[in-house]
C-alpha cells in the first residue's frame, strides 16, 4: 500500500506549523497508522524539541540525501507511540541543502514504508518552501485569525496551486472563542470566505499546548486539553472519517466544566 505525503505550511512563521505536525503525527499513530514526520526547516529545526526527541538525533535529512546515510539509520523511532518516526532537519547546513529533486525522491521512498508522511515546512516562500513541497500530494495550510497570517496564507495557497497541488486544506489555529463572540476576531466563516479554501479543522487557543511543549510531549495525550481534542478530530478526518468540528464553547462556566468532565468520563 502506498502512503500519502502531506506538507504542513503557513507562509508566516510562529502560527503553529510544527505543533500541528507533531500532534497530527502522534494522533494518526494513535489511530493505528504508520507515520513519519519530516522536518525540512534546515538550520532552524524544532520538531525534535517539540516532540521531546532532541537527545536521540544521530543523523539528519541532509546526511540521508547527500551524506550516504541510509534512511533507516537516520529515522528516529518514537518509543512512546507505535509506528511514529521522525526524520530531523540538519541544524548547521543551509536552507537549500536539500534540493526539490532530492525531496521528491525522499518522499517517494518514505511513502513505500508509511501511511502518512507529514512534512513540516519552513516559514517563508523562498527556495526552502519550494523544496519542502516538491514531493507533496496534499497540503495543510495553518493560519491564525489575524490579518498578517491570513494574508500570508492566501499567498501560500496561490503558490501551492501554481505548484500543481490541488488539495489544500486550512487549519485555523489559536482561535479565541471569547474574542470571536464579541466581534474582535475573525471566525471560521470569515476565514473560509476570505481564503476560499476547504476547512480541515479548528484548534482553539489553549495554554496546555505550551505546557506540553515545555515537557516535550504532544498535546494530544494531555487529558482534557481542548487543543488536543481538536487535533485528534483533525487526525480522524485525515484518516478518512467524518468528524464534526470541535464546538467552541464561549463560556467555560461551571456547567461546561461538568459537561466536559462527563464527556471525558464516558469516553
Amino acid at each position: 500500500m502506498k502512503g500519502k505525503v502531506i506538507v504542513v505550511t503557513s507562509g508566516k512563521g510562529g502560527v503553529g506549523k510544527t505543533t500541528t505536525t507533531a500532534n497530527l503525527g502522534t494522533a494518526l499513530t494513535m489511530l493505528g497508522r504508520r507515520v513519519v514526520m519530516v522536518d525540512t526547516d534546515i538550520g532552524l529545526r524544532n520538531l525534535d524539541v517539540v516532540m521531546g526527541l532532541e537527545n536521540r538525533i544521530v543523523f539528519d535529512i541532509v546526511d540521508v540525501v547527500a551524506g550516504g546515510i541510509k534512511l533507516k539509520q537516520a529515522l528516529i523511532k518514537d518509543k512512546r507511540f507505535e509506528g511514529l518516526y521522525l526524520l530531523p532537519a540538519a541544524q548547521t547546513k543551509e536552507k537549500t541543502a536539500v534540493s526539490a529533486h532530492q525531496m521528491k525522491t525522499l518522499c517517494y521512498e518514505l511513502k513505500k514504508e508509511f501511511d502518512f508522511v507529514l512534512v513540516d515546512c519552513p516559514a517563508g516562500i523562498e527556495q526552502g518552501f519550494k523544496n519542502a513541497i516538491a514531493g507533496a500530494d496534499e497540503a495543510i495550510v495553518v493560519a491564525v485569525p489575524e490579518v498578517s497570517s491570513v494574508r500570508d496564507a492566501d499567498r501560500i495557497v496561490g503558490l501551492l496551486e501554481a505548484a500543481g497541488l490541488r488539495k489544500n486544506q486550512l487549519i485555523i489555529n489559536r482561535i479565541r472563542p471569547r474574542m470571536v463572540k464579541r466581534g474582535d476576531m475573525m471566525d471560521i466563516e470569515d476565514m473560509i470566505d476570505i481564503l476560499s479554501v476547504d476547512l480541515l479543522g479548528v484548534v482553539p487557543e489553549d495554554e496546555t499546548v505550551i505546557v506540553s511543549t515545555n515537557k516535550g510531549e504532544p498535546v494530544v495525550i494531555a487529558p482534557g486539553s481542548r487543543a488536543g481534542e481538536a487535533y485528534r478530530r483533525i487526525a480522524r478526518r485525515i484518516n478518512g472519517e467524518e468528524v464534526s468540528l470541535l464546538p467552541l464553547d464561549h463560556s467555560e462556566g461551571l456547567v461546561d466544566r461538568f459537561r466536559r468532565m462527563f464527556k471525558l468520563a464516558s469516553r
Partner: protein, 91 residues
Amino acid sequence: MLEFLSRLFWRDRDRIGSKHVAKERLRLVLVHDRVNSCPQLLEALKEDLIRVIREYIEIDEDALDISFDNIDNTVALVANIPVLRIKKSIV
C-alpha cells in the same frame, strides 16, 4: 437618564467589532496581492477586452490601460480606453 439606560442596554449591540475592519482591509489587500502575484491575469483580461471592444469601436490599443483601484471601501477595475471612432456599420 434615558441616554444612560440605552447605553447600558445597547452598548454591545451598537459596537462594531474590529473583525469587520480586518475583513474589509484583507479583502482589499488580497485583491492587489492576487493580481500582483499573477501579472498574466491583467494581460489576458486586456487582450480579451480589446477583442470585444474592437467589434464596435475603433480604439487606441496601445494606450489602453487597466488597473485595480481602491475606491471608498471597494476595489474597482478601472479601464481607460481611448476611443478613435465608432464603427459605421453598427451605428
